[in-house]
Each structure stands twice: as structure tokens, then as C-alpha cells.
Assembly symmetry: C2
Homo-oligomer: 206 residues x 2
């Protein structure tokens, strides 16, 4: 592309570095910004600059937070003995939205993925081991995505924590509530049969 | 969504106002920004802020420009008597990329679209009339998209300029070079027959 302005070129090049946005989409966004009032661009650029400069992470669970301890860890009503291990803040938001979990979280910041050069030391696994070592933890719930990387990460953490007397659990996999069996993939349907639960438990709708 | 941080919430809300980006994608972009080094966010926010604050438009053709006159209007080799009327800077870039046009442009900044509240006064049509009035213009080439809005805009401009002795032309529509007839839509194929050109002209590949 041959740009009519170096300002446009620079903006397109920066925006196109974001994941899922190519140069054509970036150009479309630039033209949109130019058509909007000036304060729209000011608010957008301000929000991006402030985000990265001022972001903080909870010193306990490593979730994104505005304070030294996040609102979940700081909440005296949450059960600190149950730790749900997740990949990132989106998973925390998803579980919180269910309103079903009264424990606390540990945000790993990713999954072990040797192919992408992400090893255990790139994640907050040591911090999790310290929490178990120093605090009164009863249960670890693994809630990573069920990919090879997720399973590897779960297993790595499990091996590190095996020596403590903890309950280890994982979120259940199966047919989505309200979904038809005929449309489910075989792996999921297979799991929901092999990991079937007592009928009385299944009737416990909350 | 219940955000763990007001910084994240603000960034997601601003980014989600961009066209084609929902709140989920915005959240994904925010997490990406947080994983990148600080200077990436600084460069991105800087480019957006500078873009909107310092952008200039060519006083002649209204294309985006870093200078008072854009590089095309300022080029003595371009034929100022032939004006190609386009919607926005992307069209200028597309025509320039062909290397087939030696004239100059006029960037309207949009199309007449009463349904969206865009009338002739929201575009740079008056500036085009002034150019024709004051300069030695021989030909106007209409190169707007062939939508109802494009046709309306072309016709409006044509009626305003009719009284001058100008040649009016429009970019040709038809089957794309290298495309098969059987896959063309009926409207396009119909136009390429009704607006057929002399055989000798069609052999003039450049």
C-alpha cells in the first residue's frame, strides 16, 4: 500500500499488529477514527496508554486488579481453602458470571506450551505452590481448557502438589445443558458417558 | 460483563466502539496489549492520538495529506484537467496502485445517503464545483461504487456541472479480468454486454 500520509501509515502499521486485524481492516479503522470527533480518538488512545501503564495484578491470585489484592481475594465471604486454577482473567469472569463458585482463583497467565516457548517458569505456578505451602488450602479445581497444553499444565501442577493432602478436582465436561445428543461431537458425548454422575446429583438443578 | 479492573473496563468499552469489534474481541485485544511490552501500547496509543490531532487534508482534492497540497496535486506531471471523483482515500490508493491514471482526484468524503442523513453539503461537492469554475478542467471521471447512493451522487454532481463543456465518463463495469462468465452475477454480465466496447480497444492490454 502506498499511503498518502505518514500519519495514516504509522497508525495502520501499529493497528495491524493487533491479532486478527489485517492492514485492510486497520485502514478501515483509521478512516473511521478520522470521521469521528477528535475526543473519540483521545479517549481511545488515553484508555490504551493508561491500561498498560497503570495495570496491576493481585499479589495473591495474579488476577488483573485495581488494588494490591483483588476484590475476590479481599472478600471475607470467599472460601480461601478452595482454589480454582484458570488460564486468564476471562476465565475468572466466566466462572464468576455463573454465581456458582464461592472459593478463590489462581490465574496462571497461560498454559505450558513448549512449541510456543512457554514453560512453567513463564506462568505463576511457583506462586500457586507458595499459596499451598503457606496457607490452609483444601482443594484445587483445575479449570483450564481441555487441550493438550491444558492437560499438560494440569498434570505438571498436580505432580508438584501431590505430596500435600489436597483434594484435586476438574470441571466436568459433557453435553451442554439444553443441547441435543445428536449434535454433540463424539469426544464430548463419550466423556459424558464415561464420566457419568449419580442420577440424584444430576437432578440437583440450582 | 463484570470487570475485575476499571482500567480494563474502560479500555474494553472504548475499543468496542470501533466498527466490527464487539466486547469479546475488545477483551481479547486488551489481554493481548497486557501481554506485550509496555512500548507497544505506547506506540499504538501515540499513533492514534497523533493521527487524529495532526491529520490534514489537501486543500485542492481533499485527500488525506501531510502537507497543504497532497503529493498528487503538487506533482507537475499529473494532468490537472482530468479529475477522478472518488469516495475516500482508499479509492485513491486503489486507483494509484494500478499505475493507469495520470490525472488528479477529488475526494468526496462519502456518498449522498439521505437514509443516513448524509446530504450534498456534508461532502466536498462545492469544492469540486469551484475547481471546475476556476480551473481548466476537461473531463470528470465518476469512480464511486455502483450502489444506489453512488448513482445518486454521480447524478447530482452531473446536474451541477452539466452547463460546463466537460466530458463526463465513468469507470467501466464488467467481468473481472481472468474471471469465468459462468460465475459472474447476472447484473454484471448484463452490463458487460450492454456496455460492450470495440474489439480493437479490448485487445489493448497495458
Amino acid at each position: 500500500m502506498d499511503f498518502p500520509s505518514s500519519l495514516v501509515q504509522k497508525a495502520v502499521e501499529e493497528i495491524a499488529q493487533l491479532p486478527g486485524i489485517g492492514r485492510r481492516s486497520a485502514m478501515r479503522l483509521v478512516l473511521h477514527l478520522l470521521r469521528q470527533p477528535k475526543d473519540f480518538s483521545e479517549r481511545l488512545s488515553g484508555a490504551i496508554a493508561t491500561l498498560r501503564a497503570q495495570i496491576r495484578y493481585c499479589t495473591t491470585c495474579h488476577n488483573i486488579s485495581d488494588t494490591e489484592q483483588c476484590s475476590i481475594c479481599a472478600n471475607p465471604l470467599r472460601d480461601k481453602r478452595i482454589i480454582c486454577v484458570v488460564e486468564d482473567v476471562r476465565d475468572v469472569m466466566a466462572v464468576e458470571a455463573t454465581g456458582q463458585f464461592r472459593g478463590v482463583y489462581h490465574v496462571l497467565g497461560g498454559k505450558i506450551a513448549p512449541m510456543e516457548g512457554i514453560g512453567p517458569n513463564d506462568l505463576t505456578i511457583d506462586a500457586l505452590l507458595n499459596r499451598v505451602e503457606e496457607q490452609d488450602v483444601h482443594e484445587i479445581i483445575f479449570a483450564l481448557g481441555s487441550t493438550m497444553e491444558g492437560d499438560t499444565t494440569n498434570y505438571y501442577i498436580f505432580k508438584k502438589l501431590e505430596k500435600y493432602s489436597l483434594t484435586f478436582s476438574a470441571i466436568s465436561r459433557g453435553i451442554g445443558v439444553g443441547d441435543e445428543l445428536e449434535y454433540a461431537d463424539e469426544l464430548t458425548l463419550g466423556r459424558s458417558i464415561s464420566q457419568r454422575i449419580p442420577f440424584e446429583t444430576s437432578m440437583n438443578n440450582d
